[in-house]
């Protein structure tokens, strides 16, 4: 559905995107993962035709975005990081305007707008000024705008940034619903979000593709990267020494301490489950465990694991 070949975007001497290539299959939800400044938004802007690449090509449903922009753009709905909203229009006026821009036939317009409004749950807000809506609702209007014209491909640039947890869940739910009949590229710098929503993930860093892999492979990689957080009451030195002596534990780092409650971060070898050993060690020392949980790896750690391991690359 989308073919990206050796995309380069240069600003002066800086290469924001440096030779990115990947394909997006029909009906797939592709996660586009990378830290801030990795080149995610620039790549998405090039795919949608907002920016031109210095070199390389983007084919959308067989149409080159630069040579045949109108045909290519008909297939794309784009929600940029900052939703392109006119605050002085009502939601319905705005969606009508976007229908005009996307050349939606007037006979289909009303039904399409009503359907989209109900899908993103903003029917009750259709006649309110966009400027008066909360951030979460503005984001939904942005989603609605991308859906106008029923494009086959939706490109969503960090659609959950700045939303509260309930709104984030709602947007994710909506993306999952849309995934049933759309191809979606979805960027994020939150690992768990990508795991929850996507089929496959492209990880980019410093303008280059660090890895392209199915989400199941990513989950395996993540499960091999484990840390535990232990909160306890007892002498920190004795506990740390006792923990270090457990086979499978590679390091113990103190995180927070006050008078008699301490918190340590335990890095463990992925091949062993040390939780029961930790429990018995603490019981033997008569040091009550207040909390024991696994810590999610950060994006930086994932990058380290991908770029340092031999499994990285396409």
């Amino acid at each position: 559905m989308i073919e990206i070949n050796n995309l380069v975007k240069r600003y002066g001497n800086t290469r924001a995107v440096n030779g990115i290539s990947f394909t997006v299959n029909d009906g797939e939800v592709l996660g586009f993962l990378g830290p801030n400044g990795a080149g995610k938004s620039t790549t998405m802007n090039i795919i949608t035709g907002y920016l031109s690449s210095t070199s390389g090509s983007v084919l959308v449903d067989g149409h080159d975005i630069l040579e045949d922009p109108v045909a290519a753009k008909k297939n794309i709905g784009y929600l940029p990081e900052l939703p392109p909203l006119y605050f002085d229009m009502t939601v319905r006026e705005y969606l009508n305007f976007v229908c005009d821009l996307k050349k939606v036939p007037s006979s289909e317009r009303k039904a399409q707008i009503n359907k989209i409004l109900s899908m993103v749950h903003i029917t009750d807000y259709a006649d309110r000024l966009i400027g008066n809506l909360s951030k979460g609702y503005k984001q939904r209007v942005g989603m609605a705008q991308a859906m106008v014209g029923d494009p086959k491909i939706l490109i969503l640039d960090e659609p959950t940034v700045g939303l509260d947890p309930t709104q984030i869940q709602e947007i994710r739910k909506l993306i999952r619903a849309l995934a049933q009949n759309h191809t979606i590229i979805f960027s994020s710098h939150i690992l768990s979000e990508v795991q929850e929503v996507c089929d496959r993930v492209v990880i980019i860093n410093n303008g280059k593709v660090a890895a392209v892999q199915p989400i199941s492979d990513l989950s395996k990689k993540l499960s091999g990267y484990t840390r535990l957080l232990l909160s306890f009451s007892g002498p920190i030195k004795d506990v740390s020494n006792a923990l270090r002596s457990i086979p499978g534990i590679t390091s113990v780092t103190e995180r927070v301490s006050n008078v008699d409650i301490h918190e340590v971060e335990i890095s463990i070898d992925s091949s062993t489950d040390v939780r029961s050993s930790i429990f018995y060690t603490m019981v033997r020392g008569n040091w009550p465990i207040l909390e024991l949980r696994s810590l999610d790896p950060t994006l930086e750690e994932l990058f380290l694991s991908i770029t340092s391991g031999k499994q990285g690359g396409k």
Binding site: G49, L51, A71, Y78, P83, P84, F87, F97, K102
Partner: protein, 257 residues
């Protein structure tokens, strides 16, 4: 194009800018007309010509936000990522501003009606002034549109178009000033220039600068003297600025981050 036109035109009346421009125009034209009417010498052509001097304020008010506001709010993404041609966006915005000036002109039409009802005459000079008014409006609106496309600040766009329109309106004064400066400087004995040749040279300099002045070119219309070339000149300059606006917007794809 129609979508952009409808949106921009309706926005003039959803925000204050359309009302402010309309109010300024209505006040000024009303003031001039009432003064003429009271003195018993109504001359609509002269009124329209006088009103043109206020373009220096009206054009920036109407055009300053046309593109700069889109850039600031990030809504320009819509123009680039939907199957819309950038040229039609430029034309749509241009026509919306022209339509606003058209609406403002209703004030003058009402005054013309009053004049006719009171036994006055609408002559060829008046028709000439109206034609020139719209051609000059097109030129200045295109210029304001260009100013709005090169910056994301409405204030800078307004100052930019204000200065250029002021410069154009003062062209004949400036050319006379340059010519007399040349004359007084080169007439010093050191240069030993024949005074006749010098005066011819200075007059040519003045003519050369004035050649570019759309106001001097069109000044005979208000006396009922019509010709195509000044109108063609105004249309060409307007077209040039619309083309430059289009180029600025297209270039952004390559340069912005």
């Amino acid at each position: 194009m129609l979508a952009i036109f409808k949106r921009e035109f309706s926005m003039y009346f959803k925000t204050a800018s359309g009302y402010i421009a309309f109010a300024i125009f209505a006040f000024l034209s009303g003031y001039i007309f009432v003064s003429q009417y009271a003195s018993g010498k109504v001359n609509i052509a002269s009124e329209i010509t006088n009103l043109r001097s206020f373009f220096v304020v009206l054009i920036p008010i109407v055009t300053m936000g046309l593109f700069s506001e889109d850039k600031k709010r990030g809504t320009e993404v819509l123009y680039y990522t939907t199957p819309t041609n950038i040229a039609s966006v430029v034309i749509g915005k241009f026509l919306s501003a022209m339509a606003l000036f058209g609406i403002m002109f209703i004030n003058v039409l009402v005054q013309m009606f009053i004049t006719v009802c009171s036994g006055g005459v609408i002559d060829a000079g008046t028709m000439g002034a109206i034609v020139v008014y719209f051609f000059l409006t097109a030129l200045f609106v295109a210029l304001g549109l260009f100013a709005s496309a090169v910056t994301d600040s409405q204030i800078i766009a307004a100052i930019f178009s204000f200065l250029i329109i002021l410069l154009i309106q003062l062209t004949s004064t400036i050319s006379a000033l340059i010519s007399s400066t040349f004359n007084s400087f080169l007439s010093a004995k050191v240069f030993n220039i024949d005074p006749e040749k010098l005066s011819e040279f200075c007059s040519n300099v003045e003519k050369f600068i004035n050649w570019f002045d759309p106001l001097s070119k069109t000044k005979d219309f208000r006396y009922g003297v019509f010709s195509i070339s000044p109108l063609f000149y105004c249309a060409c300059i307007a077209g040039l600025f619309l083309f430059l606006t289009y180029q600025v917007l297209e270039k952004k794809r390559w340069t912005q981050s």
